[in-house]
């Protein structure tokens, strides 16, 4: 009997190619996206050389070349975008220049790129260094030598001033506020004089003295910050820059590969570890990283018991019937609700109702300033945990269904109660599925921004939710979030061009954080799966 060849369709080969091709395309798209973000994001930190271009009419422009594109009206010709910085001198950070106008391009080794605490970068040559108006070093070389000598000390003083302002004066302010609130609390109960009131008021005096002392220290320190650096820009413009505002000085044209790599690493580190400056367009994103990770952690702590208990009830304890089916359908539908709706619910229920009640009962003396009755990291985490609880419930239920009933029977036959069976046999066996649910929940939550915007994320938070003052974890504080940071920097900042590379870098960072959180959970799940090899979910 000869087998007839019915064509390639009967072997199914076209479908293998189709599915394989679709998968490859999807992987390429993902790889392409990640590659684009990686390239733009990581390129942000590489120190760029500074070009000095001389135009055909003799004018000079100094800046870093950041882009090159073909002119739309004149084919074959290009223009380049120069980052000239010096916003306080020129008005605009970036300038487009037709290549046709350029007569000469040089890379002078004495051009400095100075990172400042205000107004962004300063690009120019060092002219001289002055102390209280009197020149102490003149010329580029001598000036740089002088700056190098004093930069470390200036940085130390700047950090000390910030520490006094934030920590010590901050603590004094907190204590004064505490006294004021206690007095107001007494006042609400009708006590406006007497021994309690006097004791509290007596505390105010020493606090005020302490404040004066710290303020005097600050004034002394500020007096030592008298050094200024005069930097020359284009077109004869000069800037006298206080050394206190200088974060770093580099000469990118004279840096070798090793120096540039070292600088690159330093830039990456300061991006991760520093606070933001200049309306989030400069500096680092550490508070946003901290806020994102903390929020995901709190959300995980809340959503796991909630989802697991609900799944156990639905699958193990409830009588299967119409009611349980209805609940299951409702839970699955909850996963499809738009996230902004959860945000609105969070505002209405958590913030106004629960938070407002907490304020009225526990913090009446602070009113009308809300403590818990406004957005905060607690309410944001709770809102997101509601958003992701269906995912955990479904994953846990699938895991419970995959556990063979024989295991439960064996445990009961050994005289265990249902609760003992659940805790000692079922729960360890369903752990991998619970972790699957948690992974999916974290992935979903890390990407949601809309509900956070109205329940507690801000553009710039003055403090972190965890600090050194009791009770150390302040759940009522507003926080910063990487997803919102991307939106804010990319679309809400006053200087979008300057901010664009930062958007890529922040996006890359958010991707990496989510990937690491997921990898950690996946590794834990694999370890558990090897131990309890039953579930396939």
């Amino acid at each position: 009997m000869r087998l007839q060849n019915r064509g390639i369709w009967s072997t199914g080969e076209p479908f293998i190619w189709l599915t394989g091709g679709a998968l490859t395309m999807a992987l390429l798209l993902v790889a392409g996206l990640i590659g684009l973000i990686f390239y733009n994001g990581m390129g942000f930190f590489w120190p760029k050389s500074v070009a000095r271009v001389t135009f055909t009419d003799g004018a000079v422009m100094t800046g870093q070349i950041v882009e090159r594109e073909p002119l739309p009206e004149k084919p074959g010709q290009f223009r380049i975008k120069l980052k000239v910085a010096n916003r306080d001198l020129y008005g605009a950070d970036f300038q487009w220049v037709d290549e046709a106008r350029i007569a000469r391009r040089e890379y002078p080794p004495d051009v400095a790129v100075i990172e400042r605490t205000e107004w962004g970068l300063l690009i120019g040559t060092i002219k001289d260094v002055r102390d209280g108006g009197r020149a102490i070093a003149v010329g580029g070389a001598a000036g740089w030598a002088e700056v190098q000598k004093r930069l470390a000390e200036s940085e130390r003083v700047r950090r000390q001033i910030r520490r006094i302002e934030k920590a010590e004066i901050g603590a004094i302010n907190a204590r004064q506020e505490g006294v004021r609130l206690k007095l107001k609390g007494l006042g609400l109960r009708g006590i406006t004089s007497g021994p309690q009131v006097e004791a509290l008021q007596a505390q105010l005096g020493p606090l005020q003295d302490e404040y004066q002392r710290q303020a005097a220290r600050l004034a002394d320190l500020r007096k030592t910050q008298s050094i200024t650096v005069v930097v020359a820009g284009d077109g004869g413009k000069e800037k006298e820059l206080p050394l206190a505002q200088v974060v770093s000085v580099q000469f990118p044209n004279s840096m070798g590969l090793v120096a540039k790599t070292a600088d690159y690493v330093g830039n990456v580190w300061s991006f991760i570890a520093d606070d933001p400056r200049e309306a989030n367009t400069e500096g680092g994103v550490f508070p946003a990283i901290f806020g994102t990770v903390l929020m995901v952690l709190i959300m995980s702590i809340v959503v796991t018991p909630l989802g697991v208990l609900a799944a156990f009830y639905l699958r193990e304890y409830a009588k299967q019937g119409a009611f349980v089916s209805a609940v299951r359908i409702a839970v699955n539908n909850l996963a499809g609700v738009p996230s902004i709706v959860f945000g609105v619910f969070g505002v209405g229920f958590f913030i106004y109702f629960v938070g407002g009640s907490i304020d009225r009962i526990f913090y009446p003396e602070a009113l009308p300033t809300p403590t818990f009755g406004t957005g905060g990291i607690l309410w944001a985490s709770l809102t997101l945990s509601l958003l992701t609880v269906p995912v955990v419930i479904v994953a846990t239920e699938e895991g419970l269904a995959a556990i063979p009933g024989g295991m439960r029977e064996a445990s009961l036959a050994l005289s265990a109660t249902k609760l003992e069976t659940t805790l000692r046999v079922v729960l360890p066996a369903v752990m991998p599925s619970i972790l699957t649910g948690l992974i999916l929940a974290m992935a979903r939550a890390a990407g949601e921004v809309a509900p956070l915007m109205i329940t507690g994320v801000v553009k710039l938070a003055p403090t972190l939710p965890i600090d050194g003052q009791w009770p150390f974890l302040h759940l009522e504080r507003k926080f910063m979030h990487l997803g919102f940071h991307i939106y804010d920097v990319g679309f809400q900042s006053p200087n979008v061009d300057a901010a664009r590379p930062m958007v890529f870098a922040t996006t890359l960072l958010l991707l990496l954080i989510v990937v690491f959180l997921n990898l950690f959970a996946i590794a834990t799940r694999n370890r558990l799966r090897r131990k309890y090899a039953t579930s396939a979910v």
Partner: protein, 272 residues
């Protein structure tokens, strides 16, 4: 008539010294069971002797497993099950409302058809029962585990892999592990629901050998599809058909000289 078997006949076991009076351990009296509207057991009455092996044979669906599961109240787990009649184990009515189910299951252990070790280590599997009973001392547990594994003829094979996962054992070893797990709590009665149906002949032989040894300490009730197995290991055999106990008696007599025609038909293979 088919359901009523003389209790006295079942209690006399012929030995070389003549018949002796056996102590009844499990007494089943007029037990009927309804699963929803279907009646799965019809008026079953019989008695099982202490430290003897009693086997149930019969075609699929005749109610042998259902009867077995009544003895440790595992049928309680199924919704819609209703039982009438009386079951006494060791003299106490097990369906008495005052009776705690977990107390009952300490005295009546069960080994299932498909071995179901927990996804834990071998040690933890066998120690599960004692831990539930409150034993926490590590050396006590180790002693119990060793004793149980030796009683199940498994100790030599697993003594150096006590901490490995139980799921890595072979089918026959897993079933012996389940037996070890069941005897770790030292029950009075051991119920075995077709324990060898998923095993190869060599593993089956090992478990049959084990049963003959366990008889010295436990009362064993076994449900089996395999008539030859029932003939090999049991002292008493009951033949069930469609929820009724057709015949019950000493194994040798039931197989060589059955009283009821249905029994004879089944044993000679005319049906079932």
């Amino acid at each position: 008539m088919a359901g009523l078997v003389s209790v006295a006949e079942g209690l006399h076991a012929p030995t070389s010294q003549g018949t002796i009076m056996e102590t009844p351990m499990v007494e089943i009296e007029k037990v009927s069971l309804w699963d929803g509207l279907k009646q799965a057991l019809k008026d079953v009455t019989m008695s099982m002797s202490k430290q003897r092996i009693t086997a149930y044979i019969g075609p699929s669906g005749c109610g042998k497993s259902t009867l077995l599961r009544c003895l440790n109240r595992m049928n309680d787990l199924v919704d819609g099950v209703r039982i009438t009649g009386n079951i006494r184990i060791g003299g106490t009515d097990i369906y008495d409302l005052a009776q705690d189910v977990t107390e009952l299951r300490k005295r009546v252990g069960m080994v299932f058809q498909k071995s179901n070790p927990f996804p834990k280590s071998v040690f933890e599997n066998v120690a599960y029962g004692p831990r539930i009973l409150g034993v926490t001392n590590r050396s006590d547990l180790e002693g119990i585990v060793e004793r149980s594994l030796q009683g199940a003829a498994l100790w030599d094979e697993v003594e150096d892999r006590l901490q490995d996962s139980a799921l890595g054992l072979s089918g026959g070893q897993q079933q012996r592990l389940c037996i070890a797990r069941a005897i770790a709590v030292e029950p009075d009665v051991l119920l075995m629901d077709e324990p060898c149906s998923a095993l190869d002949p060599i593993a089956t032989a090992k478990i049959e050998e084990l049963m003959l040894e366990l008889k010295n300490s436990y009362t064993i009730v076994i449900v089996t599809h395999n008539m030859q197995q029932a003939a090999r290991v049991s002292d008493y055999t009951g033949f069930m058909l469609l929820g009724e106990l057709v015949e019950f008696g000493v194994t040798r007599e039931l197989f060589t000289n059955p009283r009821e025609k249905k029994t004879e038909d089944y044993i000679t293979g005319r049906f079932g």
